[in-house]
């Protein structure tokens, strides 16, 4: 169990609609909240699965995209492209990133 969740192992993130996203641990841990969840001695750490009953699939997907984006460009010396955000999801995305400490 402890061996599976280190390094490049995958974790499962589940949206309100029950959609499952498989994300590498490293990408997921861009979020401070998710990192704390995976490292604390709670159920999530054991299962490698986190359910977000209040985050919709579209928002969670966008959030995960942002995690990738941030990991790729954090500290990069190349010109950083803009991260596209559709106006209709902007508010919800803001809420979720506050929640996830992004």
């Amino acid at each position: 169990m402890a061996d599976e969740i280190k390094g490049d192992s995958f974790v499962k993130l589940v949206s309100a609609e029950g959609h499952e996203f498989f994300v590498t641990r490293q990408v997921a841990c861009v979020s401070g909240t998710i990192r704390a969840m995976l490292e604390g001695g709670f159920a999530e750490a054991n299962e490698g699965k986190i359910t977000f009953p209040e985050i919709k699939t579209a928002i969670l997907e966008k959030t995960i995209q942002y995690c990738h984006y941030k990991m790729k460009y954090n500290g990069a010396s190349v010109r950083i492209p803009e991260f596209p955000i559709e106006p209709e999801i902007a508010l919800e995305l803001l809420m979720s990133s506050n929640y996830l400490d992004l």
Binding site: G40, E44, D101
Partner: protein, 633 residues
């Protein structure tokens, strides 16, 4: 979200906190706890959450505190250590899951204590500051240190953990570690070492104490590394160093039979180095050590100078000083780790005792004289150079270099005029060394003396070629051959002695030379120094012929006996004009048992005012040429 809903959410969270405290968190969903707490804070119920968490932690720690208070002394330290570990673990879980969002937003806005720090404060108030815990624990901590100092094994990891706890719960400004532990610890350390050092000192030798102190200091240092806070280091070491070193530095240095002096006398350089290393921890005490070495050197040196009054042997003095210097150089090098301050102190000590007595300069000059006359015979160039370098070493200590120069000049003049130097090379090299030390001015006269000698040789060659110097010269058929050294006045030590009355045979030859010289160098003035010359005299004792090598004065005296067998002292004085004290010295040298050329009327070694002398025709020797040594005063 209304207050009722908020209360309901909180009671769920409170249950979760209980479960965390009961070590049963693995079934809980972090996300759920986080989401609920998040929603509470987001909907302006942060106050409910914060005070709820506070009350909950308080409740749990009170229970823990009650349990800890019940523990007997023997288990207390381990129990507190365990509680502390648990507390840290649980507070991290509570902080991360339930309180993470609150810490980030509510706490920051209201300027409250973050939850983890709040936990530390509650821990301090409910466990550490509990009457039944703090007093006992303080005592146990100090007792453990004492046990360890007395050689017992203690659980260092428990000590480390509990002391780290004190440090952490005191970080909100309450200074628990400093107030409740460090202060008492330092006081007990001071008491411990004060009594131990006195006790140890009274029963052991200085080197033993030094080793013990060094061990103690290392032990205390390992205590810092193993369980004390690094902030205690400087305070602790300062106390230990004061008690072990500073308080006793003087006693240690002056300790009879094993202190600094006996280390110096017995060449215990290692022991002395240990002492120096120890004292270096308290720089002011090193002065005590340096002073002790310095005063010992002065004392020994003074003894060496005083010794000369009995032995009258400059050689012993110079060799003694050189031996001392070698010895103390090594001590500075090894024991004082070539420290500059100590080297300076040593130099000053040497200067003090060498300059305290002007005889030192004379002894040194006599020593060089001895080297030049015989000491360097058969010695390789390198070795000779080394010996002369050592002379320079002592020379450097002399403050009044002119005094030495005067002595040196006197001896040099005697060597040059009597041709007693073994090697011209060595003479020149010595002068070169002096020049290197003191500059051109200092040796200009000495060099002038050498110059005079070589010019005189050329001059004599010219005089002899001129046909007037030989015994078969046409200028009067004189049987006397002379050899003149023309010395520049001012370069050479001035001779107060007036010219004595020379025999006519000699005088005529001298006039011949004067004419020769003054025609070559007009305007110069020649003054004859009869007190410095030597003569070879042919003498007949019964049927044996001998050649006597004597001083010019003695030659004058002996010549008198050509015309009269017996002469009184007054008679000789009148005829020769030699000052009385010199006359007696030259006369007595002719009356020694080995060279009894004249027989003295009175017995004993002295000459009385009405003494008389008679030529000893029975004198005999197995050598044809006899050198009559002059009595030294």
């Amino acid at each position: 979200m209304d207050a009722a809903q908020a209360k309901e959410i909180w009671s769920g969270l409170a249950r979760a906190i209980d479960e965390i405290h009961n070590q049963d968190a693995s079934k809980l969903s972090f996300e759920e706890l986080y989401r609920n707490a998040y929603n509470l804070v987001l909907h302006k119920h942060g106050e409910v959450l914060y005070s709820g968490v506070k009350a909950s932690v308080q409740k749990h720690l009170s229970a823990v505190g009650a349990r800890v208070a019940q523990k007997p002394d023997s288990e207390l330290l381990a129990e507190v250590s365990k509680c502390w570990c648990d507390h840290q673990l649980k507070m991290v879980m509570v902080r991360d899951s339930i309180c993470m969002y609150m810490d980030r937003t509510y706490v920051a806005q209201k300027k409250e204590k973050p939850v983890y720090d709040l936990g530390l404060q509650i821990f301090r108030e409910t466990i550490w500051e509990k009457e039944e815990v703090r007093g006992r624990l303080q005592h146990i901590l100090l007792d453990n240190v004492l046990k360890e100092r007395n050689g017992q094994l203690i659980d260092r990891s428990l000590m480390k953990n509990v002391l780290a706890m004190l440090l952490e719960i005191g970080q909100d400004g309450s200074q628990v570690y400093e107030r409740d532990f460090e202060k008492q610890f330092l006081q007990s350390t001071k008491d411990f070492y004060r009594s131990e050092s006195l006790d140890y000192l009274s029963r052991n030798s200085c080197p033993d104490y030094i080793n013990k102190a060094e061990r103690r200091l290392n032990e205390e240092h390992s205590r810092i590394i193993n369980y004390l806070s690094s902030t205690t280091e400087s305070k602790l070491m300062q106390i230990v160093e004061t008690e072990l070193i500073q308080q006793h530095a003087k006693t240690l240095v002056e300790m009879e039979n094993s202190g600094c002096i006996s280390m110096l006398v017995d060449d215990k350089t290692e022991d002395l180095r240990n002492m120096y290393d120890l004292f270096c921890r308290v720089p002011s005490t090193v002065d005590v050590l340096r002073d002790a070495v310095s005063s010992h050197v002065k004392k020994t040196g003074k003894g060496l100078v005083a010794d000369q009054e009995r032995v009258k042997e400059p050689l012993v003095f110079v060799k003694g000083v050189l031996a001392m210097r070698d010895k103390y150089d090594k001590i500075i090098e090894v024991s004082f780790r070539a420290e500059k301050k100590a080297a300076k102190k040593l130099k000053e000590a040497f200067e003090t005792f060498i300059n305290a007595d002007s005889r030192s300069a004379n002894y040194l000059a006599v020593y060089v004289d001895e080297l030049m006359r015989s000491g360097l015979k058969g010695v390789s160039e390198v070795d000779a150079d080394e010996r002369l370098d050592k002379v320079i070493v002592i020379f450097r200590y002399l403050q009044d270099k002119d005094v030495f120069e005067n002595f040196y000049k006197t001896h040099l003049s005697k060597r040059l005029l009597a041709q007693k130097s073994i090697s011209d090379e060595c003479e020149k090299s010595m002068v070169a060394k002096l020049k290197a030390e003191c500059g051109y001015q200092y040796t200009s006269k000495l060099e002038g003396m050498f110059n005079d000698m070589s010019i005189s040789r050329e001059c004599m060659d010219g005089y002899k070629r001129d046909g007037r110097g030989g015994s078969s010269s046409a200028g009067g058929g004189s049987k006397v051959e002379i050899n003149v050294d023309v010395l520049t006045m001012g370069y050479w030590p001035s001779q107060g002695a007036p010219m004595c009355q020379l025999p006519n045979e000699v005088l005529s030859v001298m006039r011949g030379f004067e004419n020769f010289y003054l025609t070559k160098h007009t305007g110069r003035k020649l003054a004859w120094q009869t007190s410095l010359g030597t003569s070879e005299v042919k003498a007949v004792f019964g049927d044996k012929k001998h050649e006597l090598i004597v001083t010019t004065y003695q030659m004058c005296i002996l010549m008198l006996f050509n015309t009269q067998k017996t002469r009184t002292l007054a008679d000789i004085k009148l005829a020769t004009g030699i000052p009385e004290s010199e006359l007696k010295r030259h006369l007595i040298s002719l009356c020694t048992p080995k060279h009894r050329i004249l027989k003295k009327a009175s017995k004993g070694k002295s000459i009385s005012a009405d003494d008389s002398f008679v030529f000893n025709s029975e004198f005999s020797s197995k050598y044809k040429r006899i050198k009559v040594p002059l009595w030294r005063r």
